[in-house]
């Protein structure tokens, strides 16, 4: 069994660092068109920030703010966002994930709508990746029981 490590330095610095890390994750997701990054990388950073919080404090401490039920919902919601945007293009009469056609329902020209559609896809990917990373960590650390952990 792993003993609980409660340390003032680690907790204090994590408390300062975690918002910055999450902000950087959103930057990586939103800036993915122009620079290295994208939905997967940003989602990984976002999930890692939650894992850092769980290591520095306690799993229960994070679960109170971000319940596991909600996390599992987010796993499906990101994929749903991806598929919904793709299917919307299909309904409007273009190919799957051909965002250019979305200018029929959004008030912008096709080029801007294409960039916007890519951003929507990236957000869906990011939500799913971060939620899945958190889910994997929770399952590993509680031995798959979804109960109170000993860590």
């Amino acid at each position: 069994m792993i003993r609980l490590i409660e340390d003032l330095h680690i907790q204090f610095v994590c408390r300062i660092m975690v918002p910055l890390i999450q902000f950087f994750a959103l930057y990586v997701i939103a800036h993915g068109h122009y620079s290295p990054g994208g939905g997967f990388q940003g989602g990984c950073i976002l999930g890692a920030s939650f894992i850092l919080m769980m290591i520095a404090y306690d799993i229960e401490y994070v679960k109170k703010r971000f319940p596991e039920k909600f996390n599992t919902f987010m796993v499906a919601f990101g994929v749903f966002l991806y598929a919904a945007i793709g299917a919307l293009c299909l309904i409007l009469g273009a190919e799957y994930l051909n965002y250019g056609i979305l200018h029929k329902i959004l008030p912008a020209d096709p080029v801007k709508v294409r960039a916007l559609g890519t951003l929507g896809i990236e957000i869906g990917v990011g939500i799913t990746v971060s939620a899945v990373m958190l889910s994997i960590f929770l399952n590993l650390s509680t031995f798959g029981k979804h109960e109170k952990s000993e860590v």
Binding site: R3, I5, D7, H9, I10, I16, M17, L20
Partner: protein, 113 residues
Amino acid sequence: MIVEYIIDAFVIILVLLGLFFLFTATVGLLRFPDFYCKLQATGKGDTLGAILILLGVILYNLHDFSLNNFLVCLKILFIIIFIFHANPVATHAITKAGLDADVKPLTKEDIRK
């Protein structure tokens, strides 16, 4: 013109100093006898070396001053602040985990043997 040479000189000094600290940190990691000694060598040397090299990069970026270059410098400054906070605390966490896992520190009796 002469200003650029002065900036270049400072860049070279900063990068060389950073390389020196990284080198000593690596030597300490390889040569120190103990878990905790190795950790303190890397924890201090890596932090200072990385910060000095990044400061040199910032100065080098300021050669031709424009908004884009200034933004790049600001981002590197954020990296410096992040390293300055995260690296020593990570070392502290590893040390604490070592203490909790009963890793014995080196004592005078061990050296005499």
